[in-house]
C-alpha cells in the first residue's frame, strides 16, 4: 500500500527570463513501512522534492496523494494542519527552539494540535524516553550534544504519530558515533512500521536503507530496491 503517490509533479521557478524546472514531471510512490533514501548531487532537486513531500511547498502541477487524498493544491492552513498531523520533520540543523526545554520542544506540535498541557507533557516525556533521553527531559538544547539534540528532534517528529517521517540530512552535523545512533533509531522506528524518507548525500548511509531513489535534474534516474 502506498502512503504517498506523486504523479507527474512539476515544480518550476521563474529565474529572470528563464524558467527553472526544479522537479520535472516526477512520478514516484512510497510504500508504507519502508525506509527510503533520496540521493542526488546538489542542485538535483532533492531539497525541492523534500519540501513538496513535507507539505512545506506546493507543486506547480501534478498530483500529490497522501494517504489517499490529493493535497497538491491545499491552502496554506490546510498544509499547516497536514504537516502538524501527518508529517514528522528531522532537520540537519535540528531546528529546536533554544529557549524551550526538551519536553517543551517535543510537545510543540501538540500545542498546534490543540492538546492540553498535561497530556502534552506526558506524551512528550514518553517520546523522549523512547529515544533514550529519559534523563534529560528538562534540559535545554544548548545543554545537550548534537546526537542528543537530534534525538529530541526525532522525538518531536514522532509525537503526533505521523504518516511519514521526513529526514533532511539528519546526520549532516553529527560525528560518526552519533550518526550511527541516529540511523539505528530510524531503523528501529522502521521495524515498528514507521515510514521514513531520508535525504542524504552519503552513500554509506543510503546503503543502510531499503530503497534508494536517485534524483538528477528534477527527474528520477534510478530507483533501487534492496529487500
Amino acid at each position: 500500500m502506498n502512503v504517498i503517490e506523486l504523479k507527474d509533479i512539476v515544480k518550476s521557478y521563474a529565474m529572470g527570463d528563464s524558467t527553472v524546472m526544479a522537479l520535472n514531471h516526477l512520478t514516484v510512490s512510497f510504500e508504507k513501512g519502508k525506509f527510503t533514501s533520496i540521493v542526488g548531487p546538489s542542485g538535483s532537486g532533492k531539497s525541492t522534492l523534500m519540501n513538496v513531500l513535507g507539505c512545506l511547498d506546493r507543486p506547480t502541477s501534478g498530483q500529490y496523494i497522501l494517504e489517499g487524498k490529493d493535497i497538491a493544491q491545499y491552502s496554506d492552513d490546510e498544509l499547516a494542519h497536514t504537516r502538524n498531523a501527518r508529517i514528522g520533520f528531522v532537520f540537519q540543523s535540528f531546528n529546536l527552539l533554544s529557549k524551550l526545554t526538551a519536553v517543551e520542544n517535543v510537545a510543540l506540535p501538540l500545542v498546534y494540535a490543540g492538546v492540553g498541557l498535561k497530556e502534552r507533557t506526558e506524551r512528550a516525556e514518553q517520546a523522549l524516553k523512547d529515544v533514550g533521553l529519559g534523563a534529560r527531559l528538562y534540559h535545554k538544547p544548548n545543554e545537550m550534544s548534537g546526537g542528543q539534540r537530534q534525538r529530541v528532534a526525532i522525538a518531536r517528529a514522532l509525537i503526533n504519530d505521523p504518516a511519514i517521517i521526513m529526514a533532511d540530512e539528519p546526520t549532516g552535523n553529527l560525528d560518526t558515533k552519533s550518526t550511527l545512533e541516529i540511523i539505528d533509531i530510524f531503523e528501529k522506528l522502521n521495524k515498528m512500521g514507521k515510514t521514513v524518507i531520508m535525504v542524504t548525500h552519503e552513500p554509506e548511509l543510503a546503503d543502510m536503507t531499503q530503497r534508494i531513489i536517485t534524483i538528477r535534474d528534477g527527474q528520477l534516474i534510478k530507483d533501487e530496491r534492496r529487500d
Binding site: H81, R83, N95, L97, K99
Partner: protein, 404 residues
C-alpha cells in the same frame, strides 16, 4: 491556544528584560503622563471653581445704574433707583431663588479705642453670610428684628478685628463707624483673599436699614444680591429678574435698563473653559508621548520578528497556521501594551496625587482618563503589533527555515 500565546509572550519578554523594559517605558510614560496631566488639569479646574465659588456661587448681583452707551442719558428724575421694595418683589415673584439680599456699602473710617482702620461697611440683610459663604467665628449674626429696629450693631471680619482690637475678643465691645457708635456682636471666620486679590476679611456688616437711615442717609439701595437654588437656574432667574424690574421701573420696550445684572456663573464658566482648554492641551501633549511609545512597540516587534525568523519557520513546519503566528506576536505586543499601560496608570495616579498635594490643588483622579488611556494602550499594542505580527505570519516556512 491563547493561554499558550500569553505564556510564550511572557517568556519572550522575560528573556530580554532590558529591551522589554525600555519598550514598555514608552507606554508607561505615555499613559502615566496622560493620567497625571488630566488629573492635574481637573484639579486645577476644581481649584479655580472653588476659588470663584468662595465669592458665592449661584450669585446674581443687580446694581443700580444702567449700561449707558456713549452720549445716552439715563432717564433722570424718573425715580428708577433700586429700592428695598424691588428686592422684596423679586423674592416674592421670581421662582428658583434661595436668598435675596439687598445692600448698600460705603468705605468709612472705623475707630475703636486708640486704633483706627478704614474698611468697607456693608448694609445687608442677615442672610448675607449664607449667600457669601461666610461663617461666624465668635458671637452671632444680627437678626431680622435688630434690622427692623435699626439697631447699631455690627459683625466684623478678621482683618478688621485684628486691626481694631489687637488684644482680646472684640465681641461686646464698641467701635465707631463714621463717629457713630456700633456694638460688635460677632466676628467672621477668615475667608482669605478672593481670586481677584481682594481681602474678603476686611469687611464690616451692619443691618441694612441701620446703614441706610442712620449711617448713609439713603432711601434707595445700591445692589441686590440674589442666590439661586442651583447653577442651572441662574439664566432663568436672571431673565425673570430683568423682566420684573423693567416692569416695576416702567421701562418701555427698546429703552435701556436702569440697572445691570452681573452673573458670577459666567465668570465660573469662562474660567472653566480656560482651564478645560489647558487640560486638553496637556492631555494632547501627553497623548503624543503615548503615540511615540506605540511606535517604539512596533519598532521592537519588527526587530523581534526578524530575529526570530527561524523560530517562526520551525513553528510553521511543525504545523502553526497563519493565525497561530499572528496571535503569538499580537499577544506579545499587547502584553507589552497592557503591562506598560497598567504600570503607567499606577504611576500616573501616584504622581498626580503627590503633585496635587504639593501644589495644593484638590486631588481629582479622572476615572475616565484612566480607563481611556489603559484601553488606548491595549489598542496601541494591537495596532502597532499588527503589522509586525502579519509580517511574521506571512513568512514562507522554507525561507524562514533557511534564515541564519
Amino acid at each position: 491556544m491563547l493561554r499558550e500565546c500569553i505564556k510564550m509572550a511572557f517568556e519572550g519578554m522575560l528573556s530580554n528584560k532590558l529591551r522589554t523594559f525600555l519598550t514598555m517605558l514608552g507606554i508607561i510614560i505615555g499613559v502615566g503622563a496622560v493620567i497625571a496631566m488630566v488629573s492635574l488639569g481637573l484639579g486645577m479646574q476644581e481649584k479655580v471653581k472653588e476659588n470663584i465659588s468662595s465669592m458665592g456661587s449661584n450669585l446674581l448681583i443687580v446694581m443700580s445704574g444702567g449700561r449707558t452707551a456713549n452720549g445716552q442719558r439715563i432717564a433722570s428724575g424718573s425715580g428708577a433707583h433700586l429700592t428695598y421694595d424691588d428686592a422684596k418683589a423679586i423674592e416674592k415673584n421670581v421662582d428658583g431663588i434661595k436668598y435675596v439680599s439687598p445692600g448698600v456699602q460705603t468705605s468709612y473710617q472705623l475707630v475703636a479705642g486708640n486704633q483706627n482702620w478704614n474698611s468697607s461697611v456693608q448694609g445687608m440683610t442677615p442672610n448675607i453670610i449664607d449667600i457669601r459663604n461666610y461663617t461666624i467665628a465668635e458671637g452671632r449674626m444680627y437678626t431680622e428684628k435688630e434690622m427692623t429696629s435699626r439697631d447699631r450693631v455690627c459683625v466684623i471680619g478678621q482683618t478688621v478685628a485684628e486691626n481694631l482690637f489687637p488684644e482680646g475678643s472684640p465681641v461686646g465691645k464698641t467701635m465707631r463707624i463714621n463717629k457713630a457708635p456700633f456694638r460688635v456682636i460677632g466676628v467672621l471666620n477668615s475667608k482669605g483673599q478672593s481670586s481677584m486679590g481682594q481681602d474678603q476679611d476686611d469687611i464690616v456688616f451692619v443691618p441694612l436699614t441701620t446703614a441706610m437711615q442712620r449711617l448713609m442717609g439713603l432711601t434707595y439701595i445700591r445692589n441686590i444680591t440674589i442666590q439661586c437654588e442651583n447653577e442651572k437656574l441662574i439664566d432663568q432667574v436672571q431673565s425673570d429678574v430683568v423682566a420684573l424690574l423693567r416692569q416695576r421701573h416702567k421701562i418701555k420696550t427698546g429703552d435701556d435698563d436702569d440697572f445691570s445684572v452681573r452673573n458670577l456663573a459666567e465668570i465660573i464658566k469662562t474660567a472653566q473653559e480656560t482651564t478645560g482648554s489647558i487640560t486638553l492641551l496637556l492631555a494632547i501633549v501627553a497623548a503624543i508621548s503615548l503615540l511615540v511609545g506605540g511606535i517604539g512597540i512596533m519598532n521592537i516587534m519588527l526587530v523581534s520578528v526578524t530575529e526570530r525568523t527561524r523560530e517562526i519557520g520551525i513553528r510553521k513546519a511543525l504545523g502553526a497556521t497563519y493565525h497561530d503566528i499572528l496571535l503569538q506576536f499580537l499577544v506579545e505586543s499587547m502584553v507589552i501594551g497592557v503591562t506598560g499601560g497598567t504600570t503607567g496608570m499606577i504611576l500616573g495616579t501616584i504622581v498626580s496625587v503627590i503633585a496635587a498635594k504639593v501644589i495644593g490643588w484638590p486631588v481629582v483622579v479622572s476615572i475616565l482618563a484612566t480607563i481611556i488611556s489603559v484601553l488606548f494602550s491595549v489598542g496601541i499594542g494591537l495596532f502597532f503589533g499588527l503589522y509586525p505580527a502579519k509580517k511574521a505570519a506571512l513568512l514562507d516556512p522554507i525561507e524562514a527555515l533557511r534564515y541564519e
